[in-house]
Symmetry: D2
């Protein structure tokens, strides 16, 4: 394990949002436990811990109600910190959930005035993001949902959602911004049920848009995990459909409130499979952390949290490389038929191919006699995860 | 409530699978508790209770290992019962999960021989279904998944899945069958994690196929509910994308084994919203029940179970009609802005529209002051569900 | 259904907490959407809607940091409103979760100073509750848990928890307050995992206390439901062990953040079974609602929410009475053997009884042939819930 | 890590049930995938892999319907294998779930005849277990539950459950068997909802029994995890109450069907915390595995599965020892106040202690300023789990 580099460098392409490490620790039942971190200070911290990128909601960077002069000052300090550290803005997004005007939704609020306000706020946020070079704009529809299902016809909500994304795509093209959108699905919380609840629903929605090429997904570990879906399989489908434009790394136990724990702190096996997939799939986007320190953390501990997030990613990436290089694993994968799954079963339909298939003698009992040695393969995975010496 | 007809007639278009009412009650921990019901007897029972349709897996109708003569006899009796009762075959499907040869998957087994066997079995099942007039062929990939995530690269599995569906579409077109496919998603069980886990993932997958028009979805209440997704919202998206080709009605508690309870016996409110959506959306397919009597049921009780399934559907449909006709509901929906959600927010992008939006004075505080009266609306829903007299 | 009284009167013994109807709508992702309701105004509102009782956390009534004069003024107004309306204080409790000092727990914080502060705050809260006549003091250990499991040895945490409850029991006895304690279990949120996560764990814990007779449970629908346990069965065990001292009514979907929805708005069947159990078990405590209006509600809608909570309870109680009086139900219960379950199987152990049992001829096949007609019984339940006319 | 012994020896006290490694792979949707393993052969296999103990249901050992001669032959071979290998019978139990006569429950079936048959079957199973030296008798009430909640009054069910356990305690005492009972809780499956759903409910129930000292719990990882409870915290409460009489190790994802995966294959962090707790708590019972190989496993792979189960346990135990010996961990635990939680907060109630507490100056802001460094502690845990070199 001598080649396990665990200290991140900018080339690793890790990024953090302003609202993550610097989260003040307010939750549904309690007041803040930590002071805020100013954006420029945050960027300098990122530089120190080896991160490459920073992301923000419009309101994280420029507090609502700021005067033009205040906004200019914040921006100047932020740019100065970016220049000094080499940290890049890798993503921007709009806060369409904190203000009470969004209590019934933003792009899918039943109030047309709210929908128009949300669009204008998103356009201004896009301008801000573009001015700072953000290549990806995330759309998280946190309030796009219902508690009282009778209040919104789902088809109407989806139509409004699509209208909004189409409009924003038009805006970005019109302005000539080199920016793509990434929709972030979430099944529930803060709404009872959210529209576009999973990666799959978002991928399907995107195919209905006017400019589907401009829009991909920004899956988050915690969001898919809340409802117990396999995150790495969802990422697999997003990659297969060419739509993984961004990713939010954190952690979560199934069936709970949105925990946003430090990446790699809960679903260790699933995260191993995720990192193995990301590192071998050609994904070149940032590895973006959308998590926050435990609320009982204080002071420099928030930066330890940041370092731990990246350290665990690097450790899992190293373990995945070692796993795939282990001859015992290579043999187990072969015995499991993992490579065989990449071979065509029959190819494109032709009457000849169909006739051949139907003429093939079937021997289900013999087919049933094969072992896929998945227990050995899985134990090898656990062994590599736990850093166990192999005989 | 004088117009609440609760006894089904064929025009209601209800259907049941051979494996449902007649389920023998075997589960993961116990042996069968009931004798099987022969297919022809089953059809006659359906006729008696007012159902319109019957569905089957190939092996439900023709037991594996049957001689040609036995198969002929079963088929003749089945056709005779269909003719006598007017019950139609409304769906057919293939059993690709019971035999141990499918223990690692069918279309996505790592064993190419199993994949080819599964395709041939599906083609024969399609022939059988077509011969009996089934307009819809369901593809449930019960074993298409993994416990040991390292054993299958998700992208390979999806590629094989797509290859299989494309091949079957080619086969159906080649044979000239007037048949469409409906993919039935499920998140897990009997596999640890299943490919195409939700309606969304299936809808997205379909857009990648060679003949996407031939393929829709067959969502099941229990399957989406297992992971806690809102079923009626998922159906809303399937309808919005024009892909609701079939539906499986039953019931389930969130976060549990696949319960397949009688429709309407658990998620009463969600089912109300579902029936309201189906009845007002123009869905013309069968309302198909994929459920089974409690295992401690015996004898004629299995037909009471069938009657109850349809009775509750009709009752919820009546309640939904009455809900939407109630002036208090009409007023609450208006106050909630439900109709306003059907109005365009801004329309297609134009620079002029964008400029207008950005020039609009924003008054978030005023927008926040609106009540959406969702409590009143939801209470009215509960009142109608409970059959409460209104003041 | 002519005897269905749906408008509450004080004799119905409904109660609401100050933090419920008057909740300002802040959540983990958003700012308040409603103005607060002053305690005295709240009590007058309760009087108008027919509630019998009010409950509070110390800080709900007397805002932290109030001067003695301010506290006196609030208390005087509160008492005056109680006197004017006849509303009684039916429960009091301590807020040991909002202030950041409780970020690592209160009675089980790793900081001994915090534990002592929590005890002193609870003692003052008990004094306040006693001064207003509260017969029940609820202990909800919202912050008694961990995210990082290594940080607290569970046995130490339980020992500290027991020490705290024992001390408070001693205090109440010493002061001579006619007050009992009710522990409110919750599985998670706001902590990753909470100590005493369910009714069962709390019941078991109570048996270890110095004064177990002084302590019972305060189960909450949402809390047990979050992890998918049957609430009415948990209440059944609490009743069976004589420990149902208080109850928190609200609603929730399984596997989600703590939703605190209006009672009866989600788990309709489970709530029917709950109300049937409460109404027939001799429970004489208040029916206390710990829920809050949807965040997009505003103005008088919060009182509609309160009315709806009670209306649905009364409707379910009426439906349960009608269900149990329906001859078809009586027959189905008999066929199901429901009454037979109340009969002793064998009685206390004696060698003679044992010998008799072992000598009894076993005929499992014959025992297996019985139908428990649970489908009919359950359909009757659904029929009564939906207010369906019976043939 | 040179001292990490990963090959089990009998002194490690690992045990497996006959139904585990030798599981034939039948599930709710599929037929068996593997041949059965005869009991004597199974014991010899256990001897080879270094296990210390074997457990069984009555019907696993003596197939129902065996003649006396057949039973004798099986028993003789079984005893012979035990003698030859030194494997001990460490637990026995009764199958009260497979036969259809138990479809409505066993000790809580609504049919009194079934209840009596279940008791007699359990008594005979106890005789069989005692004859083979089993010190623990497990009671898993797999069918003790309902789908149709109206069919059983929960209090009646609990009364019958208690009656049965009391009777069996009387029987064991009467016979003079040196045997204790362990109740195995489970929340659901195969019943919709099970009585005694969690460790907590079982612990509470036990306190109501006639001979509470004879009865403890047999918690299973998968069962508590199904509903998302923290297993190690549940075990902590069982240990704290002196009731951990046996344990079932396996693995499971939250919110799913009962998966019975190989121990340590899913919830790696939770299992680390569990093993750390077991190894430091003085627990001296067997570490019993109640799991089964993936269904697509065949042949010798089932024994690799057994070896992997024990290997991972030993690896986690080693990691836990190293974690607790690491000076950085010792420092982090101290900074977190982990040891401080073992200190009394105030001690037993006295008026003087109460007065002192109330007189203590409170400074919540200062108390809130502490960091519990849980991020560092948790990252150290992850580092140790992943076998990462420390700087």
């Amino acid at each position: 394990m001598a080649d396990r580099r665990l200290d991140p460098v900018p080339a690793d392409n890790f990024a953090f949002g302003l609202w993550t490490i610097g989260n003040v620790g307010r939750d549904a039942f309690g007041d803040p436990t930590r002071p805020p971190v100013a954006p420029a200070e945050f960027v300098r911290g990122l530089g120190r811990v080896g991160a490459a990128g920073v992301s923000f909601h419009d309101d994280d960077l420029i507090p609502p109600g700021s005067s033009a002069a205040e906004a200019e000052r914040v921006l100047a300090e932020f740019r100065s910190a970016l220049d000094a550290t080499g940290v890049r803005v890798t993503m921007a997004t709009t806060n369409l959930f904190t203000h009470p005007c969004f209590k019934d939704g933003a792009f899918t609020s039943n109030d047309r005035g709210v929908r128009r306000h949300a669009l204008a706020k998103a356009m201004r946020g896009i301008d801000l993001g573009a001015s700072l070079g953000a290549p990806v704009y995330v759309l998280w529809g946190g309030r796009e949902g219902v508690e009282c299902g009778a209040a919104k016809r789902p088809q109407d909500a989806l139509a409004r959602y699509a209208e909004a994304v189409n409009f924003l795509c038009g805006y970005v093209r019109d302005r000539g911004y080199p920016m793509r959108f990434a929709i972030e699905p979430k099944p529930n919380e803060p709404r009872g049920d959210t529209f576009l609840p999973t990666i799959g629903h978002a991928l399907a929605f995107i195919t209905t848009l006017d400019q589907p090429d401009m829009v991909g997904v920004n899956p988050e570990v915690a969001h898919e995990t809340m409802v117990g879906l396999s995150f790495h399989q969802g990422i697999g489908q997003a990659l297969w459909q060419g739509k993984l434009f961004h990713i939010d790394l954190n952690d979560q136990k199934i069936g709970r409130y949105d925990q946003d724990f430090r990446f790699g702190s809960e679903g260790i096996k699933e995260n191993f499979l995720l990192v193995r997939l990301l590192e071998t799939s050609g994904y070149t986007g940032t590895k973006h952390f959308d998590s926050r320190p435990y609320r009982n953390e204080w002071g420099d501990g928030i930066w330890e949290f940041a370092r731990g997030s990246m350290r665990t990613y690097l450790a899992l990436a190293a373990a995945a490389r070692e796993f795939d290089a282990d001859p015992a694993v290579v043999a187990a994968l072969a015995a499991a038929g993992a490579g065989e799954l990449a071979e065509e079963s029959v190819g494109a339909y032709t009457p000849t191919a169909a006739a051949a298939l139907l003429a093939e003698p079937a021997d289900p009992e013999q087919l049933a006699a094969r072992s896929y040695v998945n227990e050995r393969l899985d134990q090898l995975l656990i062994d590599h995860l736990l850093g166990l010496p192999r005989a």
